[in-house]
Symmetry: C2
Subunit: 152 residues, 2 copies
Amino acid sequence: MPTLDRIDRALLGLLQKDARMSNKELAASVGLAPSSCLARVRRLEAEGVITGYRTELAPRSLGLDLQALIAVQLRLHVGEAFNSIGDHLRSLPETVAVYCLGGATDFLVHVACRDTEHLRVLTIRSFTSRPEVSRIETSLVFSFSRSNLAVE
Amino acid sequence: MPTLDRIDRALLGLLQKDARMSNKELAASVGLAPSSCLARVRRLEAEGVITGYRTELAPRSLGLDLQALIAVQLRLHVGEAFNSIGDHLRSLPETVAVYCLGGATDFLVHVACRDTEHLRVLTIRSFTSRPEVSRIETSLVFSFSRSNLAVE
DNA sequence: GTAGTTCGAGAATATTCTTCGGTCTCGATG
DNA sequence: CATCGAGACCGAAGAATATTCTCGAACTAC
C-alpha cells in the first residue's frame, strides 16, 4: 500500500486531466527536475496507482449516437455464472463499462449503439438470449460525463 | 461529420489502449511515417473525435475503497433544476461519472468513497438534502471495468 | 559520529517531436 | 491527352524531450 505525498497527488491530478502532458512540463508544474519527476511517475505506474493511459473518444464521431444503460438480473447467482456472464458483457464491442452490483440488479452495462435497431438486436442477441439472464431493463442515456478522482 | 478511414480507426484503437504511446511507435504500428501520423492525430483532435487523454487511477490507491451507484429521482423536472443539479453532481469530488437518464431515474451517479461513513454523509449532505431531489437509491459497486469503444 | 537510505539535481546521451519542402497519385478541366 | 490543383505521404534536419547515470544533501538508526 503505497503512501502518496503532496507531489504524487499533484502529478496524479495533472495526469488525470491530460495524460499526454510531457514529462518536462509535468516536472515544471510540480517543481521537480524532469529526471526526478520521471522517476516518480514510473514508481506510480509500478505500484499500480496508475493503471493506464486512455484516450477518450466522442461516440458520435464513431457513428454511435445512442447510449443506454442495461440493468441485468441473473437467474442463477452461483459464482460460475457470475464470472462467465461478466466476461461476456465486457467483451461486447458495444460495451463502454460494466458495473457488478449488489442489490436487485446484478450487472449494469453501459453500451453505445448506432441506432435503436442496433440496440434492439443487441439486447436480444447478447442479453436476453443468454441462459443466465433472467430479466433486463434498458434506460436511455441522454448525457454522460466522467470526472476525475479527487487526489487530495 | 468527419469520415474515418482504416488508418484513423487503427490509430484510435491504439490510442484508446495506451494514450502515451509515442508518435513514432504509433506511426510504425499503422505503417505511416511519423510526420503523417502526427498530422492524422492532430486532425482527429481538431475534429473532436479525440476528446481527451486521461490517466486511469486505482481508487484503492487513493484510499477510496467503496464505490457506489446512486440513482437520483428529481421532484421537479423543469430544465432549470435539471441543469443545476447535474452540475452539482458532476462537481462533487467523490463523483466518478454522471449519467443523465430517461425513465424513472433521472440521474445515476457513480461515486468513490473512503468507507461507509463517508458514503452515508455524502448521500445526506450532497443528495437528499438538495431541494430538487425527491428520492435516491444507493447500490454497492462490487466491481467496475471500462472497455474501449469499437472503432471498426 | 557514521553507515545506510532516500530523494532530488544536473549533465550527458539517446530518442523523439515537429516543421518544411518535395514527390506522388488522382481527378477535373481545358 | 496534357495540365493543373488538391490532398496525402515521405524524408531530413534542427529543436525539443526523454532517459540514464552519477553525485550530493538530508535524514535515520545505531
